[in-house]
Amino acid sequence: MATLELDSITKTFQDGDEEIVAVDDVSMSIDDGEFLVVVGPSGCGKSTTLRMVAGLETITAGTLSIDDRVVNDVKSQDRDIAMVFQSYALYPHMSVRENMSFGLEESTDLPDDEINRMVSETGEMLGISPLLDRKPSDLSGGQQQRVALGRAIVRDPEVFLMDEPLSNLDAKLRAEMRTELQRLQNDLGVTTVYVTHDQTEAMTMGDRIAILDGGELQQIAEPLKCYHEPANQFVASFLGEPSMNFFDVTLDGDRLVGDVFEYPIGDDVRADLGETTDLVLGIRPEAVELVEGGADVPHEFGMTVDVVEPMGDENTVYLQFDPDADTETGATLVATIDGFTRVSEGDTVTAHIPEDAIHVFDRVTGEALHNRSMEDAADQVDLA
């Protein structure tokens, strides 16, 4: 068990004469026993970051330390790190038992019977004891996944690295393994860095999540904090499904003026915005309410239902400010409403965009100027 410290880690690749920056000045420190999820779209540098921690890629600049020991130049095999790969990377010619013993045989001087005992124990813990004498090719995807995990766990390393380990499983199995992985990590208490592109995994599994885009760290915080208080527009749009609604607006006195609507704001929101006038208004679909009554109340807008996507427990509704506008260009507001609320395409409804739930971003830098506060969000849950 160990702490892991990334200090201004940078990775550049040479492509002909061009220099490509894959990871740009990323700093983060991971506590002993912490489960950190690194998330981002493909090509954001998350896997490269993980591979640098593993020692599979060289570090162009910056320092990487495990337990305060700088390991930039330490070889992979001497870092005491175990990694679970997306493809599982099992050794096809070895039985499950041999796969799991391999690491112990190569990295320790333990006697054979001790290794055998440890492998059997780990096998039991993961429920793969009956499979120990089979070859990987005889196993299902889920079983191979467990073996890959077992191979990492049995070594009892300082740090676990996981590179999208669940993305080759079907949806149901993935949900099961997600819970199981969390439970395992809790029991073992090994510092873990988990890379994924799946925001559900990011939100549910990690103690903290680090969001990367274009090789740069966007935000590192607890999942709910990232969700409710995103550092910038990218984080806000990346987390949440359906994603947050964004409208380009301009500040005019105490109103945000958009193409098709005006949104009055109170003093505290106004204070957060300062001198910036080119803004983006953000609102999460689940914060939008459909209410009775006319559209003359501030923060309430008469809208037309364009599309309804029933999900069972809830409906995703696409609303348009102007029913005659082209779907491509017309401003659309996505709202998530209760599954029992009856709305159908073409209906005229009134949407309430509560002021305490809005986010305002700087349109140029993308930086969040005003976020809904987590306390407010929590209060609402308490009231309900």
Partner: protein
């Protein structure tokens, strides 16, 4: 149940015939033309082998009296030529095995290790490309071009016969220095193609698997020993078959290095070259019998490694 019934009353067989008839009815003119061409092509390739085989069992008169591809009649049939050929070639067969087997195995192993080195990811791509280019260049050097340097090398630069004098002291004929020279020559000549074949194969191996092994604490050497080598089976089959056939059938190097069929170390190809030729003319039957007998080991290798060969070629 109904299936069983069908089978017992024989309508299963009937169904097959109906199916066959239906397939025949569906054949177009193009299909028929295709099959005719295929059968002709197969015959074209098989006739020389068939002719050789029947000829090897013919007496001298039968060869003159019957067409080359026609089987010998009861009167023209003999095992005599095979017996003579085996008597003459058996000695050479042993000598050939003596250099072909070690040379094949060593060149395959060296090729495999070299290829592994060339696929290691943490090596500058430009260095890898240079080494690979040099190795591949080695494939294209024709045998004929190295004959003179090769003779000079073994006769003037490296006098292996003197170096191995302690072996001859044990009572082994010093002609056998030729066998050792052949092993070294064939290994040197075989390494490039072996390296190229193995490299192609190793390129398809999962990088993540190798990385996983490195993270598991294995050194480069251990990764080769425990992961790469055990997984190389199919490619070893390809390389072993290819190299063995090449080395076994090569006449040029044996001519230069061993030179005479009277030598105690004469390989089978050298004896075969002179078999059945004399002042009175060619003994075709004997030459055919000898050729078939000399080809038996290569056939055996194909049969032994056939399954892995198919797998390796597919990869």
């Amino acid at each position: 149940m109904s299936d069983d019934k069908l089978r017992t009353d024989g309508s299963g067989a009937m169904a097959t015939t109906t199916k066959l008839r239906r397939n025949l009815e569906r054949m177009t003119v193009e299909d028929i033309a295709l099959y005719v061409v295929l059968v002709l092509a197969a015959g074209f390739y098989l006739v020389p082998i068939e002719s050789g085989l029947v000829t090897s069992f013919k007496t001298g008169t039968a060869i003159i009296e019957t067409a080359p591809f026609a089987p010998p009649g009861a009167s023209g049939f003999t095992f005599e030529k095979w017996r003579t050929a085996i008597d003459a070639l058996l000695r050479g067969m042993g000598n050939s095995l003596l250099y072909a087997v070690p040379a094949t195995i060593i060149s395959a192993l060296v090729g495999s290790i070299t290829a592994y080195g060339l696929t290691i990811p943490n090596w500058k791509p430009s260095y890898k490309a240079l080494v690979l280019a040099l190795i591949i260049a080695g494939i294209f050097i024709p045998y004929q071009a190295v004959l003179v340097p090769l003779t000079q090398f073994w006769s003037q630069w490296v006098q292996l016969g003197d170096l191995l004098s302690f072996v001859w002291a044990l009572g082994i004929d010093d002609d056998y220095v030729g066998i050792v020279e052949l092993v070294v020559t064939h290994v040197a000549y075989g390494v490039p193609i072996c390296t190229l074949l193995f490299r192609t194969y190793y390129k398809t191996m999962s990088d993540e698997m190798m990385e996983s092994a490195r993270l598991d604490g294995a050194s480069l050497r251990r990764v080769y020993r425990r992961i790469v080598l055990p997984l190389s089976g199919p490619m070893f089959a390809v390389v072993l078959i290819y190299q063995f056939t090449q080395i076994w059938n090569d006449l040029l190097f044996t001519l230069v290095i061993v030179s005479t069929e009277s030598s105690a170390a004469a390989p089978v190809v050298l004896i075969l070259a002179g078999l059945g030729t004399s002042m009175e003319g060619q003994d075709f039957a004997l030459r055919m019998a000898g050729a078939f007998f000399a080809a038996l080991p290569t056939l055996a290798v194909y049969i032994l490694f056939g399954d892995e060969f198919a797998e390796g070629v597919a990869a």
